[in-house]
Symmetry: C2
């Protein structure tokens, strides 16, 4: 389960001013399995011909373990934070032996960077994201339903884990260039998706053209993140409601 | 040195919806020195009459060690984050023996809560805060100079450590009720100070009265925190400049 939601998906390999694609980010640190644990799933047991019977089965099992680690890692890192979570916490949450972690990830940092992508992918299914992409509705209506949907999602999650992007931004910007850059890419992609809808609103005359769509989108996302942060501190939805009120009375009007 | 600045001072014991004064927060955990380290400064050396000569000197030394720990703790926790900083990191930064920490603070968490207060007190001296309080200037001019001053401060600090309140909010809201509540009080006090200036602007007719001063102040602070968070991720001042542009063209106009 993801915590308080904040973020839609764009599939492109978007680059902002100071960032590079994740594939390059990860290539910089990912150098294959670092350790072979005793339960490594991609080793061929003695007496078996890998090419005949077990290769694809073991390959799938290996993929499943990796996916389990990534899912459990995302959930745990999101809820507890990066530095408060150990590799053992992740393997325990995934229900796999601790030794198997390094067969699949170079480090907790490498998993954290991939968790950002998985978080982005998960938001494809959110009600809010679907409302944003529903081109049958008017652009400002879509934007309102989108942010209302994010606020609803915040209420539904009892853990008040906030937005993974903001959490990683605050905790890791000075600590992990790899994760910071991936979060920057994620924010830039998110801004692009919002900017498309703002651009539509401007073209149909529903919104003034005095600010470029991308700039306005970035302001909204940043203001949303600040409101979500404050909601977590106050344990109260009021900052999210205030965001909606001010945004749609003063900025998107 | 504080990192990117974000926050002025109000002396009152402000309470928001879900918070209590720090004195009560700390009273809940502070039960005096927990351990007496070998270099404890408030022990009386053998052969000396404490009442005659050394009591006040040792008391001052003890106070200095506490202050050293708090200053070093604030700087280290702000720059590195709470969970990435150990008690030993703090005592090393303070230049005091590790064992002395628990003579002065019940826990790293207790120091963290006091660090929030010290952070608030430090902002009294900031150029931005002085501009906000300069009642000779018009209220909207003071608000503009205030946020411009915070942005300037962000540029001057190379560590890009962000705002301590936001960092603690993201990292500790699910982990430390003590620190979360203190951060909530700090945000509420900060909002009150901004609200006073917005109220002045409304009374002199420089600003519409369609939103209550407190609500507008909270929105601005939240949006500022989001912009600062994004500036850290992008390692770029642009989000702060965007905050100024949108705020003063769409909201404070």
């Amino acid at each position: 389960m993801l915590g308080v939601s904040c973020w839609p998906i764009v599939r492109s390999q978007h680059l902002n001013r100071n960032s590079q694609p994740l594939s390059r980010c990860l290539a910089a640190t990912w150098r294959g399995p670092r350790r072979q644990g005793p339960l490594s799933l991609h080793k061929t047991p003695k007496g078996l011909d890998k090419s005949k019977t077990t290769g694809h089965i073991m390959g799938m099992a290996r993929l499943n373990v990796r996916e389990q680690l990534l899912s459990a890692g995302l959930e745990t890192l999101h809820r507890r934070g990066f530095n408060a979570t150990s590799v053992q916490d992740i393997t325990e949450a995934a229900g796999v032996p601790k030794g198997s972690f390094y067969n699949h990830f170079e480090s907790k940092e490498a998993l954290g960077a991939e968790a950002v992508i998985k978080y982005r992918e998960a938001s494809d299914a959110w009600t809010a994201t679907r409302a944003l992409r529903d081109t049958k509705a008017a652009p400002l209506t879509r934007l309102r339903k989108y942010f209302e949907g994010l606020a609803d999602r915040a209420l539904k999650t009892e853990s008040w884990s906030g937005c993974l992007l903001a959490n990683f931004a605050c905790e890791l910007s000075n600590q992990s260039p790899l994760i910071r850059e991936q979060v920057a890419v994620a924010f830039a992609e998110w801004s692009d998706e919002i900017a498309v809808v703002i651009g539509e609103a401007q073209r149909v005359g529903a919104l003034s053209k005095d600010l470029p769509p991308k700039a306005l989108a970035e302001f909204l996302i940043n203001a949303w993140e600040g409101a979500l942060l404050r909601a977590r501190v106050d344990k109260d939805r009021a900052p999210l409601q205030l965001f909606l009120k001010v945004t749609f009375s003063k900025i998107l009007s």
